[in-house]
């Protein structure tokens, strides 16, 4: 007999952790949309943010001040990256930029740990993690909170893109860099802004993930969870990142619970990739990615 209640529990758990994937993926999408870079260093930024915050708190800085300080650090980091790495590489092929961010991720990871040490830090955001039940289904309170935060971030970004000047500039640049340049948008400023934004996303994601997994090196590997999400949703779609994240989260959990036992478990590591790949072979530009007509 199929246990529906259990299935729903697994599904809800998957969807909630999927929101966390979406959150990481959005950081990628922001940068990809505006500068065509797949920023592999997103994971490292996340680690850096979480580690900085935790270390500040552990050194007695009050929560709010630590948050603010970390925010400032992330903004500075974003601007520094734009200045030193991306600007010299402007107009290079996307894959070169990708490799540069790969190098960047090494630098940031190394720096974060050299600065703050390699030990594991616990991070308590003060959220009760006792699960509660809805119609017999266990739901983690923390997951729900994380989902709410992620949802709020997404909504904020959506509003920002739609109603602010900078947001409009983002979109213009995303649509057509040359045209944006022609109408007088200052690209470097937009890029600096976008890196700042992705730094903020990294901070939020870093805190949520850090609270869940502990703040440690493996936090930067969250990036590897976000990649299949991006592949599924399309690198340039915020909506895709959200839907993709939910899907991947759900599929991963369901696969692990229902398919995993046949293989001795642990298939979480690659199930998402296989699903994303299989999907790609059918739709090469992802769920919501723009299909480009090749011009020759």
């Amino acid at each position: 007999m199929f246990d529906y209640q259990f299935f729903i529990e697994v599904l809800v758990g998957g969807l909630l952790s999927g929101v966390m994937y979406s959150l990481v993926a959005i950081g990628f999408v922001l940068i990809y949309k505006t500068s065509g870079v797949l920023n592999f260093a997103q994971g490292a930024m996340l680690l850096f943010a979480a580690l900085t915050f935790v270390s500040l708190v552990e050194r007695g800085v009050p929560f709010a001040a630590a948050l603010l300080l970390t925010l400032v650090v992330m903004v500075l980091l974003g601007i520094a990256i734009e200045r030193t790495v991306l600007r010299p590489l402007v107009n290079q092929p996307p894959i070169t930029l990708f490799m540069a961010t790969l190098g960047l991720s090494y630098v940031i990871e190394g720096a974060a740990q050299l600065l703050w040490g390699t030990q594991v830090h616990g991070l308590d955001l003060g959220i009760n993690d006792t699960p509660f039940t809805v119609a017999g289904v266990f739901i983690s309170q923390f997951d729900l909170f994380a989902a709410a935060i992620a949802g709020a971030m997404v909504a904020l970004f959506a509003l920002f893109f739609r109603y602010t000047r900078t947001g409009l500039a983002f979109r213009a640049v995303a649509d057509d860099q040359f045209a944006a340049l022609a109408v007088g948008l200052r690209l470097p400023r937009v890029w600096a802004a976008v890196w700042t934004a992705s730094g903020i996303v990294a901070l939020v994601a870093g805190l949520l993930w850090g609270a869940r997994l502990g703040v440690q090196f493996s936090l930067s590997l969250v990036v590897l969870k976000a990649l299949p999400v991006l592949v599924l949703g399309g690198f340039d779609s915020v909506a895709g990142a959200i839907v993709g994240g939910l899907l991947i989260g759900a599929i991963e959990k369901i696969a692990e619970v229902y398919v995993g036992p046949f293989f001795g478990g642990g298939i979480e590591a690659w199930a998402a990739y296989v699903v994303a790949l299989g999907f790609l072979l059918v739709r090469p530009s992802g769920l919501f990615g723009q299909k480009l007509i090749e011009r020759v």
């Binding site: 797949l38 030193t84 790495v85 010299p88 590489l89 290079q92 092929p93 996307p94 894959i95 070169t96 990708f98 490799m99 540069a100 790969l102 190098g103 960047l104 991720s105 090494y106 630098v107 940031i108 990871e109 190394g110 720096a111 740990q113 050299l114 390699t118 590897l224 990649l227 299949p228 991006l230 592949v231 690198f235 293989f263 001795g264 478990g265 642990g266 298939i267 590591a269 690659w270 990739y273 296989v274 994303a276 790949l277 790609l280 072979l281 090469p284 090749e294 020759v296």
Partner: protein
């Protein structure tokens, strides 16, 4: 990709270095001097891993540098090679080691073809991400299924004794010569391939896939060939890594960091350059040792292994960025320029004195 390598020297792929004499000299030294004079440490800890990594880099360069398909899963194919060779050797004891080695390459090539299939539809990032699937899947399978490691619970395998054509190769010099011979032969064959029509096809697909298709390059076959040949070489490099260098390996030794390491070798050494693969590998092997010496000398006890590892990460990552910005053609371009200057100076000296 194309801009990265557009100026790379590809015309004369038939030569490792511009001069025959240089190669001959290198051979004499590598076979005639090094095995007899070098210390065990130099052979075991530097030259053997250098050779294995260089071959892996040659393999990745075929795929990424020449054919333009980025792979983030090289270590997976090293692992496939190592575990395949181990199993051939274990389960068919009468098979000479050299056969096991080649068969392991073939198995790695087959796995490479499977994971190369998405390249027929995917490009750029999407493909790069898909090669990560190979990375995670292979590592998982080798850890999960004890059969691969002859029922070792943690997937650890031990290398058999090394021999070529019946001659047992023991000790550090033996392992080095084993490595060297295989790397030399494999590299030679690769250079031949790259200098042939297939090599031109690789570059054509990399530089302009549509034009390549229009003039009749079998694009799909070319990409698969690149994946196959690349995985074959990387697989063999994996065997060398496991059998000649570490002697005992676990699946975790072929993790994503190893894949990135090989990618870094070809970026630093030079994309689409065989010499670059060797230069890059030498750099990656020697650099950490230098860094730790320098670090110890400057900072003393503060410079422990943790700090070393982190500063390594920072410097390597930083170098990648610097190379991409300042010298996208890699170390090989620097060396070429140096060589040119030296010969120019030599010419001037000659004129002055003769």
């Amino acid at each position: 990709m194309s801009a990265l390598v557009e100026q790379a020297q590809l015309v004369k792929t038939s030569w490792l270095t511009p001069s025959r004499a240089g190669i001959a000299l290198l051979f004499v030294a590598a076979y005639g001097i090094v095995p007899f004079t070098a210390s065990g440490y130099l052979l075991d800890a530097i030259l053997t891993p250098f050779l294995a990594l260089a071959l892996a880099a040659v393999g990745l360069n075929v795929l990424t540098g020449y054919a333009g398909q980025v792979s983030l899963g090289s270590a997976a194919f090293m692992a496939v090679g190592a575990y395949a060779a181990y199993n051939f050797n274990l389960r068919i004891p009468e098979l000479p080691l050299l056969f096991s080695l080649v068969l392991a390459g073939v198995v790695a090539a087959a796995v490479g073809l499977v994971f190369g299939l998405p390249s027929l539809r995917l490009r750029g990032f999407y493909l790069a991400v898909s090669t990560l699937a190979a990375q995670f899947f292979v590592q998982w399978a080798l850890t999960k299924f004890a059969w691969f490691s002859n029922d070792n619970p943690s997937g650890v395998i031990d290398a058999p004794p090394l021999s070529i054509a019946g001659a047992l190769l023991t000790g550090a010099p033996g392992r080095y010569v084993f490595c060297l011979t295989i790397v030399v032969v494999a590299t030679f064959l690769t250079v031949r391939l790259l200098g042939s029509q297939s090599g031109r096809n690789f570059i054509a697909v990399r530089d302009h896939e549509v034009a390549a298709k229009v003039i009749g390059v079998p694009v799909l076959r070319t990409k698969l060939l690149a994946f196959g040949v690349s995985s074959f070489l990387v697989g063999i490099a994996g065997v060398l890594w496991a059998f000649a260098y570490l002697r005992t390996v676990e699946p975790d030794g072929f993790n994503l960091d190893r894949s990135f390491q090989i990618l870094f070798i070809i970026i630093i050494g030079g994309l689409a350059s065989i010499r670059g693969s060797f230069l890059g590998a030498a750099f990656i092997v020697v650099f950490p040792l230098l860094l730790s010496r320098v670090g110890e000398a400057l900072l003393g006890n503060v410079f422990d292994s943790g700090v070393l590892e982190m500063s390594q990460r920072i410097v390597i990552g930083g170098l990648i960025i610097v190379f991409l910005i300042a010298e996208p053609k890699g170390l090989v371009a620097l060396v070429d320029r140096l060589e040119e200057q030296v010969s120019r100076h030599a010419g001037r000296l000659k004129r002055r004195f003769i």
